[in-house]
């Protein structure tokens, strides 16, 4: 049938080829991300798994695991679901096939670039935003390509109304762009090294505004959109309450953006910002559960099918875990709970109940629905689907419970103060580590089960694809052209959702209100962070050491932020103050204490202690799970680049004089020689002044020493 033979009827075909590509990428990167997770889980159980190589140590692989899980696995899964559902919800083919391909290949290239640069230690040192500036630019470009393709499709749609799933996609498109660009602004030193324009408390607030909303707008809102499409689809009935889905959308989008500061409770972040973060995090519970209830009630009366069909089984479990982790999140944001849980494995367990319970489960349900449709066949094995389901669920439960136990145990041990003596019950940090190592084994086993379950799905999906031997041709569909229709008198909702651009602007406003109110005071932090005359910028050698600290991902296991609590004061010293990190581009407050806090480590140990500790942590701290860093004793410090580094810092507002910048390499060499002499007096025979270990010692002996 030709175009326009029946009035305004048009014939078109969906581009399912691009969806199939994204499905493949989801499967492949899913295995990679989970394999990396299993490797680093075993590294915590046994330090030997670090293999003694720079590019396989925990500090470099953990960022790769998080990036792979979030942006490669969930990212590709999200794109697969969006390309599949957007076309069907708008009754239109993607706007431009070339843009679709650029989006696909561009995204895969970015992932490959991440997989190469992160193990090499090229990192910006900000959690979930570790990638260096050229890759950041590539991400922004590919994201814009995706946005053009997406909105182009909306403009050409043949369906008047914009279904609520698309609203969720739009909020992701807009917010991720804003978050990524604002958080990534930095000044390059070289092709693969840059310094964040923000410093200290300001950088902390921007980073966690980004970090939390990466969870919100990358791991949650688009996946909710997928839920609102695939759950009704799989069960063949509309969502329980469309009105509730709209309330869910607006309240979630408006509230989520405020919640970031809950990552910084009890830190040197202004108290009022912490309270705002906590209140909004607790408020988030309401819209989240509204969405969960809406999803679960859509399945009402069909629970027998949930028992039989893998698609519904995974979807129902995903929604349940969405409910669980959005209950746990607000709970952890309550300051008194957070006081105990922060820096412990409880947070790690919480994150994985979200990523495995919600993201993995929903992706699996979506793939079980989509793959047979895309390859025009039936699922290869329902039995394997069930096996996968139970393997994943048991693995996940082992994971979450072991992390609860580890987190609460360690949190309790840290804060235990003897009532008679007023001293710490466990003054040696290592005691609190050794105690939870058994839980690390349980977690690693749980993680292995999750990986195995994913491999089962991989096999099941490949077998399903192979069942189809005929060529895959995109089917032709017919629908009435939207634009040819007579305009109706419309108002209110119709007007709003009929205009994607107006809607997008409103969604942008909703997220900007929270962002601006929260970030504005931080950007003006210079007016209220009291300057401390004693706090001087890092010396050239200390700066070189700091970059090694960042390169090795030390911040992944060590915080630099002492909270104002009795036990922390006893263990680490005076609580950290905002003024102390004003020259820290980027800040290194950290989020987890797998090892102790380092904010005031200066002077606590002699130089030779650090020297031996980095060579073999167990020689100075028996029972330590820290990897050894033998390469720091071979690789040379690049003194030449220090001039450039100081001048970039100077451009960012760190008060180095022209003379200091000019003299940076010589000053660094002099300081290194002085440290080497101290080391030699302690029995180090070889000449090490130009080795990286010396720069690192200089930095560590500076932390908290003003």
């Amino acid at each position: 049938m030709n175009k326009s033979t029946i009035g305004e009827m048009e014939s078109f075909a969906y581009d399912d080829g691009i969806t199939r590509k994204f499905v493949w990428a989801t499967l492949v990167w899913g295995v990679v991300a989970m394999l990396l997770g299993v490797i680093i889980a075993f590294q915590l159980a046994s330090w030997k798994v670090n293999l003694g190589l720079p590019w396989t140590t925990f500090g470099r692989l953990r960022p790769l695991h998080t990036n792979a899980a979030i942006f490669a696995f969930v990212g590709n899964g999200m794109f697969a679901g969006i390309y599949y559902s957007l076309q069907r919800l708008t009754k239109a083919r993607m706007f431009n096939d070339t843009l679709s391909k650029i989006h696909f290949w561009g995204w895969q290239l970015i992932i490959v670039a991440a997989a190469i640069t992160l193990p090499l230690g090229m990192t910006a040192g900000k959690e979930y935003a570790e990638l260096e500036w050229p890759i950041d630019i590539a991400i922004a470009v590919v994201w814009v390509v995706f946005a053009v393709n997406f909105f182009g499709t909306l403009v050409r749609r043949r369906e008047k109304h914009i279904y609520v799933a698309i609203w969720f996609y739009i909020s992701t498109l807009i917010t991720v762009a804003v978050l990524h660009i604002v958080n990534s602004i930095s000044i390059p030193v070289s092709l693969m090294k840059s310094y964040s324009v923000y410093a200290g408390v300001q950088d902390a607030l921007v980073q966690w505004w980004y970090g939390h909303n990466a969870v919100a707008f990358f791991l949650t809102t688009p996946i909710l959109g997928l839920m609102y499409y695939f759950v009704p689809k799989a069960i063949n009935r509309p969502v329980y309450s469309y009105r509730l889905s709209i309330i869910h959308f607006w309240s979630l989008v408006f509230i989520y953006i405020w919640a970031g500061p809950h990552h910084l409770l009890y830190t040197a972040l202004p108290e009022w910002a912490q309270t705002v973060g906590m209140v909004f995090s607790v408020s988030l519970w309401a819209p989240s559960w509204g969405g969960m209830i809406n999803g679960l009630l859509t399945l009402r009366g069909a629970w027998d099918r949930v028992r039989r069909e893998p698609v519904l089984k995974f979807l129902a479990t995903a929604i349940t875990f969405y409910g669980m982790s959005t209950f746990e999140g607000p709970l952890l944001s309550i300051k008194s709970v957070n006081a105990m849980a922060h820096y412990t494995d409880w947070i790690v367990g919480h994150v994985h109940s979200g990523t495995i319970g919600w993201n993995y489960m929903l992706s699996a349900g979506m793939l079980y629905y989509m793959v047979p449709k895309l390859w025009k066949t039936d699922i290869y094995s329902v039995k394997l689907g069930n096996l996968q389901y139970w393997t994943a669920t048991i693995g996940l439960i082992l994971y979450i419970i072991s992390m609860w136990v580890a987190g609460i145990t360690q949190g309790s041990m840290w804060r235990a103060i003897d009532q008679e003596t007023g001293m710490l019950v466990y003054p040696n940090f290592i005691e609190t580590v050794v105690r939870i190592v058994p839980m690390y084994w349980v977690r690693a086993i749980g993680g292995t089960l999750v990986l195995l379950s994913f491999i089962i799905m991989f096999y099941n999906m490949v077998k399903t694809m192979q069942k189809n031997t005929s060529p895959l041709v995109d089917e032709a569909h017919k629908a009435v052209s939207f634009r040819a229709k007579k305009p109706e008198k419309e108002k209110g909702h119709r007007l709003l959702e009929g205009m994607p651009m107006v809607f997008s602007v409103l969604a942008l406003l909703a997220i900007l209100v929270g962002s601006i109110i929260e970030i504005l005071p931080a950007l003006m932090s210079s007016s209220y962070v009291k300057k401390d005359e004693n706090i001087k910028p890092y010396s050239a050698l200390e700066l070189a050491g700091r970059d090694i600290y960042i390169r090795e991902g030390c911040y992944v296991c060590h915080s630099q932020m002492i909270r104002p609590m009795a036990d922390e004061a006893l263990r680490y010293g005076k609580p950290s103050e905002a003024a102390e990190s004003i020259y820290d581009h980027p800040f290194q407050w950290g989020s987890r204490r797998i090892g102790p806090d380092l904010a005031r480590v200066a002077g606590k140990y002699r130089d030779i202690w650090h020297f031996r500790h980095m060579m073999d942590p167990r020689s100075t701290s028996p029972g330590s799970i820290m990897p050894a860093y033998p390469w720091l004793f071979k690789e040379k410090t690049d003194f030449g680049v220090l001039k450039k580094k100081l001048s970039v810092m100077n451009a960012l507002g760190v008060p180095y004089t022209d003379e200091e910048i000019e003299n940076a390499p010589n000053a660094a060499i002099e300081q290194a020689k002085a440290i080497t002499q101290v080391l030699q007096e302690s029995g180090v025979s070889e000449s090490v002044h130009n080795k990286q270990i010396v720069a690192l010692i200089a930095y560590l002996q500076r932390l908290g020493n003003y």
Partner: protein
Amino acid sequence: MKKEVLSQFSMPWLTSLACVLFVVVFVGMLLWTFRKGSTKLYEECGHIPLEDGAEKRGNS
């Protein structure tokens, strides 16, 4: 730290503004979803995913 920051934090209106904005937006949005004629519209919208490209709904 708390005293130090609060003594120099000169924007108390900001938090009040945030609170008022939030309540107004939320209540407004709630009322808006219950406006006249929305039930029929939402009923219609809810069915969009089930159509899958076919031209079932004649006149809409």
